[in-house]
Structure formats: structure tokens, C-alpha cells
Symmetry: C2
Subunit: 200 residues, 2 copies
Amino acid sequence: MPKVVDREEMQHGILDAAMQVYVKKGYHAATIADVAEAAGLGKGTLYLYFKNKEAIAISMVERHFKALEERFFGQEMPETLEDFVDGLSQTMNIPDDHAKFVRVFFEVFGPSFASDAFSAKVASFFDRLGDHYTGQIKHLQEVEQIRGDADAKQLGRAIAALTDGMILHKGLFSIPAKRHNGMRNEAIDMLVRGLVSSPK
Amino acid sequence: MPKVVDREEMQHGILDAAMQVYVKKGYHAATIADVAEAAGLGKGTLYLYFKNKEAIAISMVERHFKALEERFFGQEMPETLEDFVDGLSQTMNIPDDHAKFVRVFFEVFGPSFASDAFSAKVASFFDRLGDHYTGQIKHLQEVEQIRGDADAKQLGRAIAALTDGMILHKGLFSIPAKRHNGMRNEAIDMLVRGLVSSPK
DNA sequence: ATCGATTATGACTGGATGGTCAGTCATGTA
DNA sequence: TACATGACTGACCATCCAGTCATAATCGAT
């Protein structure tokens, strides 16, 4: 019987290579030849594993969001405010390779590329992120760790936006770790006070 | 003497047309011919007003950031917490055309396009936004409108990130106005509580 | 060894597009 | 009316690149 390869592994390897190339040159500027070279493969070979250039980008984003999914939603329900804060802090503190990807992601998410379906998928991710925080907040309200008069739904979304803003700033402007930590601590401190303080 | 035109006005018109085209098709996908058609000009004419395709995008972003500059930094120093909140609220509530531009901007800000100089310029804008809030916070601390133990520098940056997150979510996911208002109010309410509450 | 199915390859092609430029047009002056 | 000058144009060109395909290498079963 013939030669046999692990398709999935091959695809992973290609995505890894593509990632490197895209971070450096950008998705639109990078050519298939660039990616093939980085992957140590012939140009034609890529087409055995991906239908076309677009499919590479889509798979890449999907893989990335799967990782984010685990990072963001994998956490268990916080029982205390402190747990909640830890989770937030961890979420905001994205690893460098994720940070590097931010710019590439946005390039791909631009109107030149993103189909409606793709956009909807991404939007839904952030919706779910909001829901995630909403769930946590509701729970914390139930166990009386935070004030009960907050609109959990909206607050969850606002926290998602805050988290996002922090992550994006880090990714887009390669803010030094030290400064980013400072921002993060101050943001979280402010948030915590906002969550516990009694009504005005 | 020959026909005479107002170069600046012409450039503005071209940028307006380009904006429309880019919002719809994206910068990378749009062709010079598209922009020329939208501007009601011949392809060659564009090159009388802009050196090349890149120059159009750069001018466009510069014009946009000039407008942002006024929107963001034009506000006067808040004397009360309420003034501060009003300013913030106004800043977060970007007009629709600015929101539409967000995606285009990010496409252009991707590694395919953005030179180091361009990136630095954008990064500096957001630095200044942080400084802007820092200045306001320091002032509010002086007039004892908010608690004095916050690290104004980091808090300013955090608020810039929060503001950004809210704006980006609105721009990227075309969040309905109603929901966005809800998020905004809740975010600001949380922020205010965080700014006044006594230390833990 | 041999063979055949699968996997790998890179020269090639068709299409697209940024940019040019030789020629035309429009305007105001003499 | 003739002329001078800048504004405008779009056919054309050179380049680039995604995707194809004829050919070759590779492996495993016999």
C-alpha cells in the first residue's frame, strides 16, 4: 500500500508556518509561496491540504478561537470575588503569541475578506463572552459577593468590552509587560470597587 | 489662463469616495478603478492628487484621526465627576460613520500595510488618549471629586482601554444602539463607583 | 525487487491590477 | 479667435500571484 501521512498533523504544521508568515508580513501581503517555503513544502503541496488561500486563513482563525474558547470559557464558576478577579486577570493577560495574532486577525476580519457568515461567527464569540461574564456575575450576586442591583446582562457585556480593550491594546501596540500589568491591576481594582460599592 | 482646481477640495472628495468604497469592499479588495469610479474621475486623475494607492489610505487614516483628536481631546477639563462621565459617555458613543470605519482602519493597520512609522503614530495616539484621561483624573483628585489613592497614570490607561473596547465592539459588531447604550451606562456606572469608593 | 497508490513538486498560466503617459479637453487670457 | 497651460483620461504595460497539472518521489504490501 501507498505512502501514508497524518493529514491533521500536516495541516497543523502548515497553519503554524502560515501563522509565522502572517504575523510578519500580514495575510494579504504574504503569498502562498511564502507559506509553503516556511512550511518546508512545495507550493502545490499546500493545495493537497487546503482548498485555497482563504481556507488557510479560516482554519487558522478557527483554531485560534478554539484556543481562546478554552482560555476564556474553560474557567469554572467563581465562588468568590477573588476567584472572579483571578479569572479576569488571567484572561486579560494573554500570552505573547496570541497578542501577536491580534493584528493578523483584524486584517482578516476586515471587509476585504470576511464573509457575513465569518463575521457572524466572530460576533457570536464575543456575545458568548458577554454571556459568560453575565453568568458569573449573576452567580456572584446570588452568593452575595457583589452588589445585587447591577444589571448583570449589561454589566457582563461591559466587562467583555473592557477585557477586550485591554487585550487589544496589548496586542496592537505591543505594550511592555510591566506597563500592561499596571494597567490591568488598576483596571481590575477599579472594577472590583465598582462591583461591591453600595448604590450612589 | 487654464482651468484651475482646488487641490485640497479634490483630495477631500477622493477620500470621501475612497471611504465609501473601502467600507463596502475593504481596502485590499478595492481597486483604484473602484475608487476612481466612485469619485466620478478617471483612473489617471487620482494619480494627480495622490502618489499611489497607499497614500490614499494614509491620508484617509490621518484625516480620520484628526477628527478623533478633536472629538477626544477637544473636551475641556472636567470640574466634577459628572462632567467627566458626560465626556466619557460622549466619547464612547461614536457616530455611525466612525463606527463603520473601524474595520477598514484595522485592515489598514494590519502587518500587510502598516509601516513602523505608521504604527508608531497610531500607538502614540492611544498613548495620548491615556494621558488625556490621566490628566483628567489627576485634576478630579485635586478637586476631590474622586478618591485620591488611585494610580492616575495606570487608571488613565485602563480607562482608555475600556473606552476603546466599547468603541471597537460597537464598530466591529454593529451592536444595536439600544444595547450599546445599556452597556455604556452600566460600564460608566461601574467606573464611577470604582472611582469614588473608599479603599477596600 | 517490483509495483501501484498516494503524496510531493514547481514550472506554468490566466487573470487581475497598480501605475504610466501620450493624447485630449477645458478654461481664461491676449 | 487663437493660444497657452493645467486638468483629465483610459488604453496599455509590466508585474505579480493563486491555483493547476504533468511528472517525480516515496512508501508499503506482496
